[in-house]
């Protein structure tokens, strides 16, 4: 069953001397999916994101995006093709307003669109409304809260009109209410904009809730992939990471919902 | 020939070390450094003329005065504005240079001065080279001071504190180190080194406020060659510059001296931005 994979990661590795931050990782992402990428701290999730988006040079392996080999391209080239990411520690354009930040994303980003300032501004305004930052768009980025900064970075990425987005631990630093709000926003945007999302996350509730499929990394290697249910019950995953309590919860829910 | 280069290199090494410390650890490019060195020279001159103190002793006085001057400059001017970034600190230190230069011009005039020591002519023999005594003494003292600073940095509580702050500012703060005090002492120390180097310079060369800019040019190169904040690196840098200048003079003529210095600097920057000896601190 080889449906069109928009992103193929083949045997991707990154070695820092003896340390294997990423070790022979391979997986595919289908168009329109939300793929969760999880694993304990240091598992290599952000490394993969960096490798794929060109921020880090690979030691080995290939990244194929829309049937083009992007393994050796620079970050800006990859971004222009439609593959982007957000950062674990937000990187706002300091000194500029929220609106300007998103405008830059709209001006640059994917190639082949109309990027004169008027059009780009219009596009930026729409995205700002979509994520709910309309009231704060004139504020300097130094004057807004962390959840808003994350929203802004998300909006900035959306303004680039990408096809695939790597969301790198977007939820870090948010409280549970904010996490819920963010999850709903991601799902809404995915549906409206027909995006493919690779969702790197640490907070179980968020990932399990919205991912179609989950890939688990540990010590730089891929250890399991499957549906949220499958992954939650996999002994290897439980052992490495999930902890017995959550796995038990899922099992109990299964027991309740299955008749007989 | 080579001996001469080495001896000059030693003095350069010391000069460069102070500048490198200030730049590497507090991130401040001290454009008034040259003025501080020359001020040290003038202090030495004054001590010699009025109190008959030998420059090799008044090095301590020069260093002490510059220590406090540096501290005052740091506390008064630089500390409040350091968040303005490199440009603001550059301009501030430049302004300080102008003021110091002007003071020296007014007090001592632009004429070149020297300190005439009674034992200036002595030299002794090593192998078949004649080594001038004063230059030799200068070299020894310069190296001794560098070593002393190294021991200070490694061995004392304050020294380690400074290193800690340089390596990881937040970490140092978290452990309870008074970060600002460390920066202050570091800058003052650098200034003291400048003053001391100035005293040594006075014993060998003639000096005038006009040298202020040239000295900054030299210590720039030395600091970059050696890696910012790296004392032994500065020592190496000083030696390299000393050798390059001396040999350059002989083979290519003195106009090329500067070009050589500049060329070395650019090559090192592009090839190894952290200096010849890498980013680590003391050795």
């Amino acid at each position: 069953m080889e449906e069109r994979s928009i992103l193929k990661i083949e045997s991707l590795s990154k070695h820092f001397g003896a340390l294997k931050a990423a070790d022979n990782v391979s997986f595919r992402v289908k168009k329109g999916e939300i793929v969760g990428l999880i694993g304990p701290n240091g598992a290599g999730k952000t490394t993969i994101a960096n490798l794929v988006t060109g921020a880090l040079t690979k030691t080995d392996g290939k990244v194929i995006f829309k049937d083009i080999d992007i393994s050796n391209l620079k970050p800006y080239q990859i971004a222009r093709k439609g593959l982007t990411r957000t950062f674990q520690v937000v990187k706002p354009l300091v000194g500029m307003t929220v609106e300007e930040n998103i405008l830059v994303g709209s001006l640059y980003g994917k190639l082949g669109r109309n990027t004169d300032i008027k059009n780009a501004s219009q596009r930026a305004k729409e995205i700002i409304k979509l994520v709910g930052l309309d009231k704060k768009k004139g504020f300097l980025v130094s004057d807004i809260t962390l959840p808003d900064l994350k929203k802004m970075e998300f909006a900035r990425v959306l303004a680039m009109e990408p096809e695939v987005v790597f969301l790198d631990e977007v939820m870090a630093g948010l409280n549970p209410t904010e996490v819920d709000e963010a999850s709903r926003l991601v799902k809404k945007v995915r549906n409206e904009k027909d995006l493919t999302i690779v969702y790197i996350e640490h907070i179980m509730k968020a990932v399990m809730g919205i991912s179609d499929r989950i890939i688990v990394l540990h010590h730089g290697k891929k250890i399991v992939q499957g549906t949220p249910q499958e992954v939650a019950n996999d002994p290897a995953v439980i052992e490495a990471y999930l902890g017995k309590r959550y796995a038990k919860e899922v099992k109990n829910e299964e027991a309740i919902s299955t008749p007989g | 020939m080579l001996i001469n280069a080495l001896l000059i290199g030693g003095l350069y090494a010391l000069m460069g070390a102070g500048f490198s410390l200030q730049w590497g650890i507090s991130g401040i490019i001290n454009l008034s450094y040259g003025a501080m060195v020359i001020l040290g020279s003038y202090i030495s001159l004054a001590m010699f003329d009025f109190l008959n103190i030998d420059p090799f002793i008044s090095i301590l006085i020069s260093a002490a005065i510059l220590f406090f001057l540096g501290a005052a400059i740091y506390r008064g001017l630089l500390q409040p504005l350091i968040k303005g970034g490199i440009i603001i600190t550059l301009i501030l230190t430049f302004a300080v240079r102008l003021i110091l230069e002007n003071i020296m011009l007014v007090v001592w005039s632009a004429d070149y001065r020297t300190i005439r020591l009674s034992y200036a002519g002595y030299s002794f023999q090593i192998g078949n080279a004649y080594v001038p005594l004063i230059r030799f003494l200068t070299f020894i003292i310069a190296i001794a001071v560098i070593y002393a600073v190294y021991r200070f940095m490694m061995g004392t509580k304050i020294g380690k504190g400074i290193q800690a702050v340089a390596l990881d500012r937040e970490g140092a703060e978290a452990v309870g180190i008074d970060v600002e005090k460390m920066y202050l002492i570091n800058f003052a120390l650098g200034s003291a080194i400048a003053g001391g180097a100035g005293a040594l310079w006075a014993s060998i060369y003639s000096f005038s406020p006009h040298l202020v800019g040239i000295i900054v040019g030299k210590v720039f190169i030395i600091a970059i060659l050696g890696g910012l904040g790296n004392i032994w690196g500065a020592a190496a840098g000083g030696l390299v510059l000393g050798i390059a200048e001396t040999t350059g003079v002989i083979f290519l003529g003195s106009e090329w001296q500067e070009a050589i210095g500049m060329a070395i600097m650019v090559v090192v920057l592009v090839w190894r931005p952290y200096g010849l000896l890498g980013r680590k601190f003391f050795g």
């Binding site: 921020a55 620079k74 970050p75 800006y76 971004a79 982007t84 990411r85 950062f87 990187k91 354009l93 000194g95 500029m96 830059v104 994303g105 001006l107 640059y108 980003g109 994917k110 990027t115 004169d116 300032i117 704060k136 004139g138 504020f139 004057d143 900035r156 680039m160 | 730049w23 490019i29 409040p80 504005l81 303005g84 490199i86 440009i87 603001i88 301009i91 501030l92 430049f94 302004a95 300080v96 102008l98 003021i99 230069e101 002007n102 011009l105 007014v106 720039f220 003529g253 106009e255 090329w256 500067e258 070009a259 210095g261 500049m262 060329a263 600097m265 650019v266 920057l269 592009v270 931005p273």
Partner: protein, 305 residues
């Protein structure tokens, strides 16, 4: 405001000379403003383009080429040099880039000093003198610099409103983020420096023709850039009018202290600089625009809450 500048053709030679110098420094400051104030890369050695402009003009005119063409050639050479040097050197961060440019400038200085056959070496070289009464020639240079200043200001102002301008500002704001957004930062950096180099070079060309005599350590002097940076700081980095206002303030201050306090000239400049930096760290223009902006934001905040 601009109209005021057109009118004073009626002042005597001394005033015209000062104003011409002010315009010249404004141009140099704009060149650095573009690189540092907007893009965040401080080209301490930008004086090298001033020197290139001056020397190419001198050499070309010595071979019989007209001034305008020579000036233009100087500009082209500066663009080439900045691109050639820019590719390796613009990769360096902050302090290192600044220092590398000083190194390049110094190297260029030495080269010019030593290729005596072509450049006249350390003793300098002369340019043809215009056959006209001094008052007339001074006016020519006055207008020349004035036009240059207006042009460079308009060019920068225009660039900053374009997509490219946003890219440039993003580099200063957060270069890594800029990369990830699809901005070809290398291209932006090199191009920006080329523009900066071009205009600085033109200023050097006019200067050379104006003075009729140039020497290497005069036109390749790091102090030119330092002066320009002080002007920038005082006027306001990253503002369009900052360099112009700063040039006026600094040069006038300099003239006043030179004539009244010659002995303390340096110290007064130093103290004045410190005072302004302390009380107006964003420069004159910057501080005023800050006041305006925070007033606007306060109003907006009131409305939305």
């Amino acid at each position: 405001m601009v109209i005021l500048i057109f009118l004073p053709k009626f002042i005597h030679g001394y005033g015209i000379r000062i104003l011409t110098a002010i315009f010249m420094y404004a141009v140099i400051a704009q060149g650095i403003n573009l690189m540092s104030g907007y893009m965040g890369y401080l080209p301490f050695g930008n004086a090298m383009f001033f020197g290139i402009g001056a020397y190419i003009t001198a050499i070309m005119m010595g071979k019989g080429i007209t001034f305008l063409l020579a000036m233009f050639l100087g500009g082209i050479v500066s663009i080439l040099v900045s691109t050639l040097f820019g590719l390796p050197v613009l990769r360096l961060r902050g302090h290192y880039f600044a220092i590398a440019t000083i190194g390049l400038s110094g190297a260029l200085l030495s080269i010019v000093q030593n290729t005596t056959e072509i450049t006249g070496g350390a003793m300098g070289t002369t340019l043809p003198i215009i056959d006209a009464p001094p008052k007339v020639t001074y006016s020519y240079f006055y207008w020349g610099m004035l036009v240059l200043m207006v042009v460079v200001t308009l060019v920068i102002s225009y660039i900053m409103k374009t997509k490219f301008g946003y890219g440039v500002r993003s580099i200063k704001a957060n270069e890594e983020a800029a990369d990830s957004m699809g901005i070809n930062t290398t291209q932006h950096k090199v191009l920006t420096w080329a523009i900066s180099a071009f205009f600085t070079s033109l200023a050097g060309s006019i200067y050379a023709y104006w003075m009729s005599f140039i020497a290497p350590d005069e036109v390749f002097n790091v102090m030119i850039a330092v002066n320009a940076i002080v002007i920038l700081l005082i006027g306001g980095m990253g503002t369009i009018l900052g360099p112009i206002i700063g040039a006026f303030i600094i040069e006038l201050l300099s003239e006043v202290t030179w004539s009244s306090f010659l002995e303390y000239h340096l110290a007064v400049m130093g103290i004045a600089t410190i005072i302004i930096v302390f009380f107006m760290p964003k420069g004159v223009v910057g501080t005023f625009s800050e006041i305006r902006k925070s007033g606007e934001i306060k109003r907006r905040k009131k409305v939305t809450i």
